[in-house]
Each structure stands twice: as structure tokens, then as C-alpha cells.
Symmetry: D2
Subunit: 362 residues, 4 copies
């Protein structure tokens, strides 16, 4: 994979045998949108190679114009993007933890904050087991209006107590642009959940802050769309975006969700942003969480997000996929061992398979 970080260009393939007046009309229309055009003839057809405001021209659906057969954009995403594929992953500070190369971040806690005692008990247990950050939902996006919606603002002081007692930074979800300010006063990292990856009002609001944002991939969104969602935040001025793969919907998968671990090396190659994985939502069943967490680390993720509940069968949401504190405590050292094995020197491994084994000195 050679670098392709030149300015993007667009190749417009004209229909075979298209006459000069038709070609001129297309050319003029493209130029009226700011394109600088090189015309090429090869065999029976003409090609226009465009420079200039390609991003704007891309919105014109040029490939549906009469006389145009196909349109291809070449060159990098990065010319006008805030995401920079030429830089290695840049670590981001969250609370007292770094997320990125050279560290490995384990975020754990219950799906939702249910009550103070239980929350503090779980927080203490995941801290003791070696978690780096504590997660717990105050505002919950539930498919049904009749399901538990989270404690809302009542949960925020409970999360603060959890931080005070354990020293772990707090990660919690934000659903509404009107709540960004109040929640970011309390949380060390704000989570944008899968259902809100396309909620551009929310993303723009988060771009106005400098709080780290854990941006989860939409449950049926492509990595291209995830990167553009990140651009909404980055281009508005907030550089602290952490990507998170959490499973995509697929008719053939068990529980209709499949964790796309191939996205981990892809996102590392295409961005300078840390990449986490959520094996809890990505499996939907506690008995598979350990296997997928191990796999995520082996695939090169910079951390994992794991749901832990001290009484999964009584959880008010997502109990099926929660680990008990005991299960979590046994998993943590294995994850760190796999990380040490696959990234002994703290360097990223995704770009070259060569670096995986590190050569003959092992």
C-alpha cells in the first residue's frame, strides 16, 4: 500500500463515441463548478481528469449525467480532511490514561447506572481487576420507549463518586446536543452510541468542545461513513476522537450482529486515530465476550470496552452480554499478555505484517 496522499482527482469517463458538442457541454458544466480539466483520448472514448474542488463536484452525481459512463475519484481522502492517514496513531489523554500506541486501554462497567451502591461496587471491582476507565450509562438510547431509559441527570453525581472512589476516568453516553455541556462537565470522555453516529447535530455540538469523544460505528454504517462522522467532530475543532468498532448488523450472523475486526487494521491504516473495540455489543452474549475481546487485541485494537455487572441476570439493560466481575478479572491479564505478544515495543502493527513477529530476535 503506497501512500496516496496527493490532492484528490476525479476521472470522468465519457461514453464511447460521444460527439464534441456533448463533450463540450459536460466540460463547461464541470468548469462552472470550479474543476480544472485535462482531456485525454484513448481508443474510442474521451476521459476528463479533474483537479480542484473535487469534494464539491462529488456531490453532483456526475455519473448520472447524459454522456458520462463512469466517474472515479483517485488520490487521498486526506487532502482536505482533518483525518491524516500519513501520521501514526496519535495517543489521546482521557483522565489520567492515554489511549493509543504504547498503552492498552480497558474500559469496563455496567451498561447503565442503576443505583449508587451497585455502581460503586462494580467500579471498585473493575478498578481492582485492572480497568483503566469506568463506563456507565446515564442517558440510555433504548429501542422501546417502555424500556428503562437510564437515570438521566441523577446518574451524574453517582459517576462522579465512582471516579472519586476509584480514580478511574469516566466514560458516559450523550444523546442530545442540549446535554453536551452538562455531561462534559462531569465525564472524561463522551460516548456517541451506534444509533447516533449519523446524528450530525450532536456531532457538530461535540466538535465545539475539546472533550474526548468515543465515536461508535453505526450498526449498519461503513467505515467510510464512520470516518466522515469523525470529520464532523474534527473539522469543527475538536481533535480528540477515538473510533470504536462495535458490530454491524448482518442477516446471517447469530443474534444478527457481527463484530467487524477487519475494520481495526483498516482504520489504523486510514487514520491517525486510536481504535477501540466493544466485544460486548459485538457478541450480544456473555459466553462469547472473552473470545472476541482476545481477538480484538490480537487484531491490533488500542483497547476494549467491556460491560461488567455484578448480577447480570438482574441488570436493567443488556444483562445478557455482561461479564461478572470475576469473569472480567480473569480476562484482563490474558488481554494484556496478547497485547504484549503482538506489540512488544508499543509500536503499531497494523501497517505491515512484518512487524507482527518482530523478526529473528524473538
Amino acid at each position: 500500500m503506497e501512500s496516496t496522499d496527493s490532492d484528490p482527482e476525479m476521472v470522468v469517463v465519457l461514453c464511447s463515441g460521444l460527439e464534441a458538442p456533448s463533450r463540450r457541454k459536460i466540460r463547461e458544466r464541470l468548469e462552472s463548478h470550479g474543476a480544472i480539466i485535462s482531456q485525454i483520448q484513448a481508443n474510442s472514448r474521451y476521459y476528463f481528469v479533474l483537479r480542484g474542488e473535487i469534494a464539491a463536484i462529488e456531490t453532483l452525481a456526475v455519473d448520472s449525467w447524459p454522456g458520462v459512463e463512469k466517474v472515479v475519484v483517485v488520490g487521498g481522502q486526506s487532502a482536505h480532511w482533518a483525518i491524516d492517514r500519513s501520521r501514526p496513531v496519535q495517543p489521546i489523554q482521557v483522565g489520567s490514561t492515554l489511549i493509543g500506541p504504547g498503552s492498552f486501554c480497558i474500559i469496563a462497567g455496567p451498561c447503565a447506572v442503576e443505583d449508587e451502591q451497585r455502581t460503586l461496587r462494580i467500579a471498585a471491582s473493575v478498578a481492582a481487576a485492572g480497568a483503566d476507565l469506568f463506563r456507565g450509562g446515564a442517558y440510555k438510547p433504548r429501542t422501546s420507549p417502555y424500556a428503562f431509559q437510564g437515570l438521566g441527570e441523577l446518574a451524574l453525581p453517582i459517576l462522579e463518586s465512582a471516579r472519586e472512589e476509584t480514580g478511574l476516568g469516566i466514560v458516559t453516553e450523550v444523546l442530545d446536543p442540549r446535554e453536551v455541556e452538562s455531561i462534559s462537565g462531569i465525564a472524561d470522555m463522551l460516548q456517541v452510541g451506534s444509533r447516533n453516529m449519523h446524528n450530525y447535530s450532536l456531532l457538530k455540538e461535540l466538535g465545539q468542545t475539546s472533550v474526548p469523544v468515543l465515536l461508535k460505528r453505526g450498526f449498519a454504517s461503513t467505515t467510510d461513513e464512520l470516518l466522515l462522522a469523525a470529520e464532523y467532530i474534527l473539522s469543527a475543532g475538536n481533535p480528540n476522537v477515538i473510533l470504536c468498532e462495535r458490530g454491524i448488523r448482518c442477516g446471517a450472523a447469530s443474534r444478527k450482529i457481527v463484530l467487524d475486526l477487519g475494520a481495526v487494521p483498516e482504520l489504523h491504516q486510514r487514520t491517525h486515530l486510536p481504535v477501540l473495540v466493544d466485544p460486548s455489543h459485538g457478541s450480544g452474549e456473555a459466553y462469547r465476550v472473552g473470545a472476541l475481546a482476545r481477538a480484538a487485541v490480537a487484531a491490533g485494537a488500542d483497547g476494549v470496552l467491556i460491560e461488567v455487572h455484578d448480577q447480570p441476570e438482574a441488570a436493567l439493560s443488556d444483562g445478557r452480554q455482561a461479564l461478572t466481575p470475576e469473569q472480567f478479572a480473569e480476562l484482563v491479564p490474558v488481554l494484556r499478555q496478547i497485547r504484549a505478544l503482538t506489540q512488544p515495543d508499543g509500536e503499531l502493527i497494523s501497517e505491515e505484517i512484518v512487524s507482527v513477529s518482530g523478526g529473528e530476535d524473538r
Copy 2:
């Protein structure tokens, strides 16, 4: 299909051979959440049949409890829902138009309001062709922050002018709960786009109003999830919800989107809400829009939503799928003829195939 509109019940299937103490533990936990339980033994296992607060108990993931093999909910969605499957479709007034049985509603206009002149020109053309409502986006949810985002509030007076000049009611999209009030002062119907079907903050805000809401199905959401999104609005007090099928993402489909017309009879059977179809987004290509619009009518839709642009190749968004005013004008009478053929008496046809042919006098 017989009616199943009794109160919902839950059947908890215990593992084969589960001992009495384990059974008792499960029973007590269920009762602590308000369940009223009938215990049954058959062959090697026990079954609990539960009445009571089934909706709350459903959130507990009972099927992941030790000793539980499976959980089934029976009985209707409708007992506690605002959606009433036992009633026929209830028409909803939008501007001077009814949407529902006995009428057929054609909504047309450009994807986005681009400028006043063009907007008024398109509005006049679709009005002349027989459209019932005019659509045009002021605020556009674009995958890329670098794509045209709509004119925003500048578009609202243009839409008002379009209504004044044509008499057509106005349909426009709302993206942000903070904009509901201002846009609902101008629009006759607010559209919730596919990307926002799971934006529960927005849905709750719309539930506080009485403005008709055109709720589009998420591009990878099930009909169950669509109905629950409708419940967010209905249960908050706004009864004016119109459902819209607009295509779901599928790896095997051309342009990765497929219009799910089987959802039309299903939604009619399961709700009392009108159902529209958007063949423009559902095909993604102008040359297929006519075929899918005809198909939508034949499948029983109460109306269609069609993108029309007087210069599709210059459209700032979605030009590829827009019909020209001429194409639209030729399509309208065919749609009305198919409607007349398949629903001669204005009654809904979805429940029984028998009514399709209208009886022995044919």
C-alpha cells in the same frame, strides 16, 4: 390471521430436569418484578406463563438466566401500545390533504431547497402535475460535513412562498430537537429522516407537538424498531404519525439499497397508521423510480414521496435519483389508475387477498 390483541403473556421455558430450588429462585425473581405466574409441567420440563408488567420484564434478558432455556412473548403488541392493530388505517390531515384510505397522497419536490426561483418553479410544476404536497429539504443530513448542508433557516420563507403560490402543504425534514418549534411553525408535516429514526431525543420532542410526522424507516432498521420509534412519538401525545418505507441496506442489492415493499402489507396489518413509500431513495437511480412507484401503489401504499428536480444533473444533492417534471407528470396518472384498480372502493386491501379482486362482479 386471527386477532391476538389480548394482554401480552410471557412463557418462560425452564431447562429440562431443573430442580425445585432453582425453579423457585427463578420464580421469586420474576415475581419481584411484578409477574403473576402459572406453573406448568409437561414431559421433562417446567414452563412458567407470566402475566403482568411484561414490557418491564422483557428488559431483563430472562433467557440468559441460569436454568432458563427460552423465553417467548405471546399476545399482542397492542395491549400497552398507542399503535392499535385492531383498527383500520386512520387518515391524517396534512394541510388540506388527507393521508390514508379513500385518498392517495403524492408528495413531490426537490431533495433540497437550493434557491427561491428554482424551488417555486419545481413547486408549480408538481402542483400542475397533480401532487398533493410539496417536499423540499431546508436542513439536510449529509454523510459528509463537506457536502451541501442545506440552506437551513433561509429555506423556510422559500417553502412558505411555495405554499402560497401553489396551495400545496409543505413537508420538510427536521434534524435537531432545538429546531422542532421553528420548523413546525412553517411546515404542514415534519419528516424524520432515515438516519434519525433512532434519534430518540428528536422523537420525544416531536411527541410534544401535534404536527404530523412523516417517520422514515431507518436504513437498516426492522419494522419492529420502526413501530417502537413511532411509539416514542405517539406515547408522548402526538397521534399524527405516518410511516414511510424508503429502502434498507443490503449487501446484495444494486446500489446497496433495496425497497422493502413487503413492509407495506405488514405495517397495514400491524398498525392503524398510514404507510407511504419513497421510491426515489429506494432505487437510487431515476430510471428505476417509475417502476418502484408503480409497485408501491400496487402493494397498497397510501402514497408516495418522489424527488423531482428541473435539472437533475445540476442538483446539489441526490440528483441521480430525481425525476424531471415531465417524467413526474407522466407518472402521476398511472399511479392513480393502479390505485383505482387495486382499491376501487377506497377500502384497505392489505388484510385479505380476497378484497384485492373486489368480489364476483368482475
Copy 3:
């Protein structure tokens, strides 16, 4: 949509700034596979435009070669294909029926031949209701080896009796290349089921015959793959291929299957082959079959394939989606009326929306 039926060309986009020796190496490798190359420079990069054995070169994954950024194939599928997109749909004779423009073909019958009496009874009823061909499975591809596998060769004389008694041509499925000869001696059309669309041994065997083949789209296959499956048969010498859309798997759809009616205009535009639709498998539930059959006709299908059983609740397979003879009899005239409305002159309507409404004489 202008014609693009020139010879295919391939555009190889080289990485920006690629040096001359690397360019030469790529060029020589392409030429060694028979490519004739025009080199172009525009802005910071070079482009190769290739003619020649593009189909062979396409298998080389040129876009993964070092120094290559992207590869695009332009020009028509049809240059070397048996499928000819420039011709209108060519009707195909099956028994005494034509399938294609100017006729509309209704194929009906049970999923499987269960016994002689029942089969003849159903055949008589669908003949009386106006079906054109009779379908019934002798060999059934069942997901489970423990489900009813069909009567096999015992069913063949029963199908022959059905033809004798009703005069309807027979359509039945073939699963194994070793059975093509025996079944084609009896059936008027052989069906390749969805699970066998990628069974190339079977397709090649069918290409050796001249019996009409009803080729169903794989349940997760693209239209591109369907056309290539057709090419297996056509290129081997059998011109009698009829395509059939029957629903594709999708996680968000009810019963996880969605009928892709947008494929109908697409296949008509891209091929000269008739296109049928199977609304029974495409809905999976009898109460939705009528709506989807009507929609298929309105979308321009050349016919439909409908499962009919006189006792659906006792059917040995697929009873859930079977219509009763009475339901079928009521549906047939509606389908023919919609066909008459949308194709008054028997011409295909898929290419231009204009022809939908039939012009100014309405």
C-alpha cells in the same frame, strides 16, 4: 442511459508520483497478458488505458499491485457476453406459452409434489384460474437432511399426468447435474433454485441442453452475479434462460428476506432475457403474497411464480407462504389488469418512464 456497448476498456490509475521504472514494470506485466496500452499523464499521475483481453486481465487483481492506486473497467459487459443489452427482451417458448413481452406468464402450483391426487387437483384448479404453466418440485433442496426431500423420480410421472390433464407446461427444479437428462425429458422448463445459482457444474450441464432454464437469483447474490450465472448457461450454447428475482437475505427485513423489485427494471435494461418474480419466497407469508405479486407486475415483470396448495396447513414444505386455489383465482385477474394498464401495447416499459403512461392519448 446511453448505450455503452463498445469493447470494454480498463483504466489503471497509477499512484501519484510513481517513477518511470515502476511504471515500466507494470506496463510490461500488463502487456505480457495481452493488453494494448495507451499511456496518459495528467497532473501528478499517470493512467494506462487498456484494450484487449480485459476479461482475463480482470482476474489478476491489478489494483493490488504495488504502484497501482485503482482500476476501473469501462465499456459494456456485452462485448464478449452472450447477454446482449442492446436487444429488447426476447420471448422464450415454454410448452405452448411464450414468456416475454406481449404475454404475461403466471406459473403456479405446490412447492413439492406430495401425491398424485393432490397434485392433479391443484393443477386442475390453477389451470381453471388461468395459470399458464404448472410448477411442482420433485427434488427439493432442503436446509435440513431431516426435512421432506421430495418424491424424486417418483414425482416425474405425476407431473406428466398433470400436463396431460391440464395442458399446462411443467416447471420443476433440478439439483444435480446427473439428473439434468432425465428431468429435461419430462419438464418444459427446468428451475435452478436460489441455493444452486452458484453451482457451476449444474449450470454448465444445463448449457449443454436446449431446455428453457428458469434461473433464480441466489438469496444473497448480486445482479452482476446472476448475470454471470446466466452466462455459464448461455455461453455453453443454451440460449433459453429466464431470470427470476425471489428475494434476498437482509438482516433488517421481516422473515429476513426482501423482494428486490428494483432488480426488474435493472435486469430488463441490462439484458435481453425475460424476468420473472417469485412473490411467494419473496414474502414468506401468504398474507403478503398478493400485494407483492401485484407490485411485481406493476414493476414490469414478465410473469410471476406463485405457490398454491389446496391445504396450506398440511403442506410438506413452505405451507406458510402458499395461497389457496381460491385466493389464487381471485388474484389472477387483478394481475392481468395491472399488466394491461402498465403495458397497454405489449411493449416493455422498463427503459423509459415515458412509456409508462403511454403518451398523450390517455
Copy 4:
């Protein structure tokens, strides 16, 4: 997860308020198919719990019968199945290698046998790097009839030479039931490719042999369907089935394919069969193969299948996803290290997360 390996039972939930004559009619029809019925009343409805020939009754679509609201099958798949979920994974001998717990199997080689020299060269290199078995396609299932179809029987002696020279057992694909005998005379394991998982004629033929079968999951098939495909082979008498996850089609995934590693612990829990993973097809791009291979091992796979080519850019098929011999050689030790870490004692780890870390002595 408690064992559920009792005989399966079926619960038929009758509609609320269904009258006695209707209940009797349903009961009699079920009994006529061999069901033994316990009737239960709870609240407003009746339930039938059935024992007996549940597999046969499942084919009747009882849930579509009038008066029936829902049907649930409980109890294990295993009562009548050859797959036994109560046994641990049983190792299978392939050539001189065991596949299963206590060993870890790496299968490597080119997608297709292209010529003798190259094949032997690649075989030697993967043997030297530590592969356990050599793979190479003689018969290739290609989407296009115009793509390279494999050397066919000419490839078989080449594969034999590769075995002689390297000592590695041979894995090659079979496409046609008529070729099973000749290929199984030469290969140590026959591969059923993804496109043929539903080719039941082929599966039945393989069931007649005793040669080990590597059964790949269909590219859009569920794990339930994969197990039933395995049953076709097992129930016909061949116990030597090895399952293989190779990626499923998904509209949102890059290259439209996603490797479902959550299937590994699921298949281990539900069967006694070894489970391999193919990260080459599961990623589609060489630069992601290493990450997914590591992830597969960490998820508990019993082995991996990796495409290796000494000149990927000149490969006649799938070159994009092939590793070079050097890349492969560097990957092998990492895979074995992860395996050693996650399965130190050779026991399977999938059933309990507890065993992952091996207890308190770490």
C-alpha cells in the same frame, strides 16, 4: 449455559380465547403427524406441549395454521442429530496431522494450482515455514465463466508431487458429485467451498465416503444452516467433518465481507467438530490477513487456512488476498505463540471464560 440435550419438544401457543372445536381440530391434526400432546391452560389461552417426531412436525409451518399464535421448539438440536454438543471437540486425522484440541493446524498454499514448478516452490516454502497441510485448488468455482477455472484433473498429479516433496497432506476443493471419487483418491481432505455449502447433492455424495471434509460456511448462511449442511454429511455416514468460518456478506463491511469470529465460540459450544477460520477470504486484502489470522487464533479457532503465493500480483485468482512466503513465515510463530498463551494445556477454551486465564496461578 446448561445442557439442553433432552429430546426436543414443541410448544404450540393457541390464540387467546380459541374455542374448543378449533382447539380439537388443531390437536387432531398434530396427532395425525405423530405428536404426543400435553394440553395446558393459563390465563386466556391454551398451550400444547408436543413430544414425538418434532423434526417432521417442524416442516408443517404450524405457526401459520388458523388459531395458532406462535410455535416454539425447545430442547436440543442433538437428540436426533449426528452433531453432539455434549462432547468436547473430537480431533480428526488429516494426513499425518490432527485437527482439534491439543494441536493447531495451519493450512497454506495458493488459491489455485497454476503450474507444477510454482506449486512445488510455494509448497516447499510453506512447509519450511511450518504449515501442517498444503492447499491448492484444482477445480475452481469462479463467478464468471470467463475467469480461470482451474487446471482441473491436470492439477491432481501436481498436488501429489507436492505431497511427496514436502510430506504435507493435501487439501483441495470439490465442486461436482461426479468428481468426489477421483479427487478423494488423491486429497487428504476435500474442501466444500462457500458457494457449495447448500449443494446437497455434493454433500450427500461426500457422506458416502470417509475422507475428511472441510466444510466452509456459505457466504450468507447462518450457523444453523452450516450445522445442517454438516448433518447432511454426518448423517450419511462420514464422521470426519471440519467446519470453517470464512466471512459473510454484509452491506456495511469493507469489500462487503466480514469475518464472523463470534461463530468460533458458538460452533465450539454447539458441536463436537473442529473449527477452522479462513482469514484470507475473510478479509479480501493481504494487508489485513495477518491481523485476522491472529484474531482467529485468539478467538479459539483450531487452525487457519491462509492463501500464499510467491507472486501475488501475477496470481490467476485471488492475488489480492495472498501473502508472500516471507509474510507467511513471519506470521506462523506469532500464531503459535497466541495459541500457546490462550490454550496452554491444549484444552478447549470456548466454553468458559474462566479457563482462558487458567486460574489464580498466573
